[in-house]
């Protein structure tokens, strides 16, 4: 791709992400399912029983990344179609690819910003001694995880419905089961048989694993393998979202 074309491609992605951040970060469903909900789950777990928070925190942090990063994507396209802004957005010099990547970046940044705070607070509160390498591992994992989960969120927006509450409902139907199979409440290493297989099918498990490695110093899955799987899931989510979005481009306009 020539330099100018690349620049304008990146510019479109950045502008779409900026627009999403300004408009959708503060929408009630995003605040509700992206922030308050995981916060309450987190509190329920840390207050409700004498849990070993020191070993549970990596999983809870990954859950937080998942909820926050995947909360923006489902809302954007249905909301734009209903508000009558979508066709105009398509009329700008953008492509389906820049639209999707812009939305993914917006969700990813939301996940990263909020979880930098969560992780910093957690590290301070539960007294981890994290090495420099550990910080790097956590930072990179956070970025990959947030990208992956945000892409899943965008994918969940692609079905034809233009009713934001239907789409939020669908997205929660997918997101909750994923949480429960992901080895957040029980370390993957101690899962048996089918539960373990199920955990390996969820992208969240690989972020839990990377966080465990960064914070606790050991993990069940090799780091690079975990990252590769997260990247693999991301690619699949983006490509699927692209196919569905193209197919449903004019629906509801």
């Amino acid at each position: 791709m020539p330099r100018d074309a690349l620049l304008s491609y990146l510019r479109s992605i950045a502008l779409i992400a900026e627009k999403d951040m300004r408009i959708y970060y503060t929408k009630p469903p995003v605040l509700m399912f992206g922030f308050l909900f995981p916060l309450f789950m987190f509190l329920a777990f840390s207050l409700g029983r004498s849990a070993d928070l020191h070993t549970l925190f990596p999983g809870l942090a990954a859950m937080f990344v998942f909820f926050v990063a995947s909360s923006v994507g489902p809302l954007i396209t249905p909301w734009e179609k209903r508000a009558g802004t979508y066709e105009r957005l398509l009329s700008f010099p953008v492509t389906v690819n820049t639209l999707i990547l812009g939305d993914v970046v917006a969700g990813m940044l939301f996940g990263i910003i909020i979880n930098i705070i969560i992780l910093t607070a957690g590290i301070a509160a539960f007294g981890y001694s994290v090495s420099f390498i550990g910080v790097l591992i956590i930072a990179l994992s956070l970025m990959l995880g947030a990208f992956c989960f945000s892409a899943l969120g965008v994918l969940l927006a692609s079905p034809a419905s233009t009713n934001p509450s239907n789409v939020m409902l669908l997205s929660n139907l997918v997101r909750f089961p994923l949480i429960f199979i992901s080895g957040i409440f029980v370390p993957i290493a101690s899962l048996q048989g089918i539960a373990r297989v199920a955990a390996y099918c969820s992208p969240i498990a690989y972020l839990v694993n990377s966080f465990e490695l960064g914070l606790l110093g050991s993990a069940a899955i090799p780091l690079l393998l975990g990252w590769a799987v997260l990247i693999g899931f991301s690619v699949v989510f983006v490509l699927l979202a692209r196919t569905l979005l193209k197919r449903n481009l004019m629906k509801g306009l």
Binding site: S8, R11, K19, T85, E87, R88, S91, F92, V94
Partner: protein, 310 residues
């Protein structure tokens, strides 16, 4: 595709089907640089479908579109950079302010922040929105929102402007303001393609009009020549001060058809001048006084009705 050097919009064989419906059926035309072109048609004629294909939002089943010589299928981004587009029933972001909306649009077209801000301020002033420019659009009236929308499509000074029913549903003041801006952009060199079902708008605003009916292009010419081509709808309208037998007028050999509403007669004719003179001498002989006497040329409305009902 054959294309004159100055054709900014060139369309050949454009066709789009939705299931059994052929929304646009083998439409070909071109619009030269600087023209203000109106696309006129009744509801469901295929205006929006056509404009969506011209602007690269919808892919045609058959046919080619080139914008300023750029094939929209092959180079959608380069073609879109030349255009300002206002889709039908579209909205700006109500969560953003008027200024933020226009600036955002300008940046999508690659304008630098400083240029876009200057241009935005100027446009919003022209659109009488200066004092509200930092308010969220949420509280704006329909006409104000439409003005923000149009300003967003003009901010990058497009080479060609596409508007799908830009004035429908607005009050007279907003309509006039918007038409004045369209004309001004056109005078400054922007080619304009607008759809409307407002015949008067097409008549007074457009250099050339295409009439689309059930997906097919039924007529395309200047408003004046379209009216001439349909001159069987010229007429002389007469009312006299007392009840009159007009059989003699009808037998003058000049009248094609007669219509009566109340005490007013309308005689359709190919030669309104001769017929008016004939009626004048008829009235003198009969000692009749006129309460109405007028010559009605063909109106674009007559043309439209003839074309779309035929």
């Amino acid at each position: 595709m054959k294309r004159d050097r100055d054709d900014v919009i060139a369309v050949a064989g454009l066709t789009k089907r939705f299931g059994a419906i052929t929304a646009v059926d083998d439409v070909s035309f071109s619009v030269p640089e600087g023209e203000l072109f109106g696309f006129l048609g009744p509801n469901g004629a295929g205006k929006t479908t056509t404009i969506r294909m011209l602007t690269g939002i919808l892919t045609p089943d058959v046919g080619e579109v080139s914008i300023d010589g750029i094939d929209i299928q092959k180079h959608p981004i380069a073609a879109k950079m030349q255009m300002g587009i206002i889709p039908e029933m579209s909205n700006v972001y109500i969560e953003l302010t008027a200024k933020q909306n226009v600036v955002l649009a300008g940046r999508f077209y690659g304008m630098h922040r400083k240029d876009v801000e200057e241009r935005t301020d100027k446009l919003l002033q022209q659109f009488e929105l200066s004092d509200r420019k930092d308010d969220r659009v949420e509280g704006f009236s329909k006409g104000m929102k439409q003005r923000v929308l149009i300003a967003s499509a003009l901010v990058h000074i497009p080479k060609v402007l596409f508007l799908d029913e830009p004035t429908s549903g607005l009050d007279v003041h907003s309509q006039r303001l918007i038409r004045a801006i369209i004309r001004e952009m056109n005078d400054a060199g922007t080619t304009v393609f607008l759809t409307t079902h407002n015949i008067e708008e097409a008549n007074t605003l457009c250099d050339r009009v295409g009439i689309i009916n059930r997906g097919a292009l039924a007529a395309i010419d200047t408003p004046e020549r379209l009216k001439q081509a349909f001159n069987e709808t010229q007429s002389v309208e007469v009312a006299f001060d007392k009840p009159t037998d007009v059989g003699e007028i009808e037998r003058s050999g000049l009248v094609n058809r007669t219509e009566r509403t109340g005490d007013t007669w309308r005689f359709y004719t190919d030669d309104p001048d001769a017929l008016a003179k004939w009626i004048f001498s008829f009235a003198e002989r009969r000692k009749l006084s006129f309460t109405t006497l007028s010559i009605e040329g063909a109106s674009l409305e007559d043309v439209f009705v003839t074309v779309t009902e035929g």
